[in-house]
Amino acid sequence: MPRYNVSQMVEVLELNRPGHIRTPYYVRNRIGRVIQFCGAFLNPEDLSRGNAGGPVVECYRVEFLQIDLWPDYRGLPEDTLVIEIYEHWMKPVEGGPHHG
């Protein structure tokens, strides 16, 4: 069962984990909004080590305001970026600065 609902605010964690990580640095510690639940998938961190036996992890599309990602962003304040984040890479946020 997915832990997060669409439109919920989340913060991407910094897990400082080595290996095949699909969470790029530029979204770590940033706050965004869940826009879609994508389903549950085998964890690429396990797959890269040859473990295809699971468990599966929930994956979400999370949307960020560009100005929350790049302090010097030069586009419009409403420009956004959407990225897929696995559930173990995020935590819930109450309120938060994000309004997109």
Partner: protein, 221 residues
């Protein structure tokens, strides 16, 4: 098409034996030059030992290239003329493609719609994720480090280098294809295309427009 800003266009390179290396060559680090020398040496050796026919690599590449922009173009053209199909395409790209007998190998195909208020751009910052089972191999610039780094950080500048100045009343939405989903942009239907049939419309759909790095072509006058 301002592909030169991101490196050479490697799409039309059949006829050469070592096409597979071009994706690597676009990066300039010494490590990649090393990798490309290794690939070349390995291929020559395999051919010399009779384990590989000289054109076998080419054939495999052609197989990988069998899907193509024309498939994405058909989906777009249908969505432009059939509102119900468009709704299905936006709701579930994979099932909508299946209506055409197109089999999407990836987990899901997420179709994002360009409108007069929003422009979508696709990138994979971590590697080269691309809806290959639908569109074939990505263009060389798509996998270049320059595009991957800049598309998320300064998308409007990147788009302007492609010849597309996104107006200030249009929001830019970048999709980092970093994990299990694959993405396709549904471009805006060009002005003046009202009288065209589906077949003619599909010819206006370019590869870049399906990535969001360009617009669909204006109809021929």
């Amino acid at each position: 098409m301002v592909e030169s800003d991101f490196g050479q266009s490697g799409a039309q390179s059949s006829g050469k034996v070592f096409t597979v290396q071009e994706a690597i060559v676009v990066e300039t680090e010494a490590g990649n030059a090393e990798a490309s020398r290794l690939t070349a040496a390995l291929q020559s050796l395999l051919v010399e030992k009779g384990l590989l026919f000289p054109n076998e690599v080419e054939q495999e590449i052609e197989k990988l290239d069998a899907p193509g922009v024309h498939l994405g173009a058909r989906l777009v053209a249908r969505a432009w003329v059939d509102e119900r199909f468009k709704e299905r395409l936006l709701a579930d790209g994979k099932s909508a493609a299946a209506e055409f007998g197109m089999k999407i190998g990836e987990a899901q195909l997420i179709v994002v719609e360009n409108t007069v208020r929003e422009h979508n751009l696709i990138v994979c910052t971590l590697c080269s994720c691309y809806p290959r089972s639908l569109l074939g191999q990505p263009p060389t610039w798509y996998i270049s480090k320059s595009y991957r780094a800049r598309a998320v950080r300064e998308p409007r500048d990147v788009l302007s280098e492609f010849g597309l100045d996104v107006p200030s009343d249009v929001r830019v939405r970048v999709h980092d294809s970093n994990a299990d989903m694959r993405y396709l942009v549904l471009p805006l239907r060009p002005l003046g295309s009202e009288d065209l049939d589906e077949e003619a419309l599909s010819r206006l759909v370019t590869r870049d427009s399906l990535i969001g790095a360009g617009l669909a072509l204006a109809p021929p006058t």
